[in-house]
């Protein structure tokens, strides 16, 4: 008697067209543009671009990496079991030392495998971020400027100022030395080298040179970075990424 009767399946999702039609009818508007639900990609990509913005919001003309956005993203990546690895792409001119070190420390202490790729430039505070990844790559033409920390603007000339800056300097040096193959003395020497930068002290490392001094692991590009990431993922994944 009730053979033809089919109860509405509450689990069956309404078709998108039906939903749109109903919203137009009932609410007089169309559905918002929904971002499609994606399968989480196995590798995520974090770009560290422009100035690394710290405690001060930079004028809107500056392209900045905002650490308060980056850090929760790193937390989300670390917690998401579907995300197997993170590729950090650097093209930065440096920036706030505290924000830069914060990002570097977060990257360093992540369990998710990380690979960094320096493209274009990874200057100043970009160096600790580059070495913080499990494996670091630099493209052939990319440059990294290693130079001392300094204050701009009014500097009160007391010995304490120098000592304070030296202490800040040591934080960066210690971090880089701990997480790369470079020796402390060699790094300090590069930082204070004269004659290579116009009106400034420091060293510019181009591609291969950064690898030779032990700052970066390898010269490479996108394919080698992704290949390395797959390799880092393999042990826990039992076969790697398909």
């Amino acid at each position: 008697m009730f053979e033809d009767y089919e109860p509405a399946d509450p689990d069956e999702p309404a078709s998108p067209e039906k939903v749109t039609m109903e919203t137009i009818k009932e609410l007089g508007q169309i559905a918002p543009p929904q971002a499609p639900e994606f399968e989480a990609q196995p590798f995520h990509c974090l770009s560290i671009i422009g100035q690394i913005e710290g405690h001060m919001v930079l004028p809107p003309r500056n392209k900045t990496t905002k650490y308060e956005h980056v850090i929760p993203q790193l937390v989300a990546i670390e917690q998401n079991p579907k995300i197997k690895g993170l590729l950090v792409v650097l093209n930065t001119v440096g920036g706030d030392i505290e924000a830069g070190l914060a990002i570097a420390e977060m990257l360093k202490t992540m369990q998710t495998p990380t690979v960094s790729l320096v493209l274009g430039g990874g200057h100043s505070i970009g160096a600790p971020i580059a070495v913080a990844a499990d494996y670091s790559l630099i493209s052939e033409t990319a440059t990294m400027t290693i130079h001392p920390i300094r204050l701009s603007g009014l500097v009160i000339g007391v010995p304490q100022t120098y000592e304070y800056l030296d202490k800040m300097q040591d934080r960066v040096i210690r971090f880089i030395v701990q997480h790369s193959r470079i020796e402390k003395e060699a790094l300090r020497d590069m930082m204070f080298r004269t004659g290579e930068l116009v009106r400034d002290v420091g060293t510019v490392l181009v591609g291969e040179e950064a690898v030779r001094v032990g700052l970066i692991n390898e010269v490479g590009g996108l394919a080698s970075a992704l290949a390395r990431l797959s390799q880092l993922v393999q042990p826990e994944n039992g076969g790697g990424i398909q």
């Binding site: 508007q29 918002p32 543009p33 971002a35 994606f38 590798f43 990509c45």
Partner: protein, 72 residues
């Protein structure tokens, strides 16, 4: 910043004195978009804040595309 271009500097920096429109952050299905508010509940995407590379392929997430805010 070093510019390596055949364009004259005044062309590259045209409009640099103009105050840029303030932007706001918009959350959409777990994705954060930096948008510039336009008239009539519309907004123009300025920047996409996500580490998921798939989102960068979605047409309405591209910088410059206009989305409707009325529904949020």
């Amino acid at each position: 910043m070093i510019l390596y271009t055949v364009l004259p500097l005044e062309d590259v920096l045209e409009g640099i004195d103009e105050e840029p429109t303030p932007t706001m952050m918009l959350s959409l299905n777990g994705l954060t978009l930096e948008v510039e508010q336009l008239e009539g509940f519309q907004a123009r995407v300025v920047r996409l804040h996500s580490t998921d590379p798939e989102y960068y392929l979605v047409a309405h997430c591209q910088p410059g595309s206009i989305i409707h805010l009325g529904e949020f």
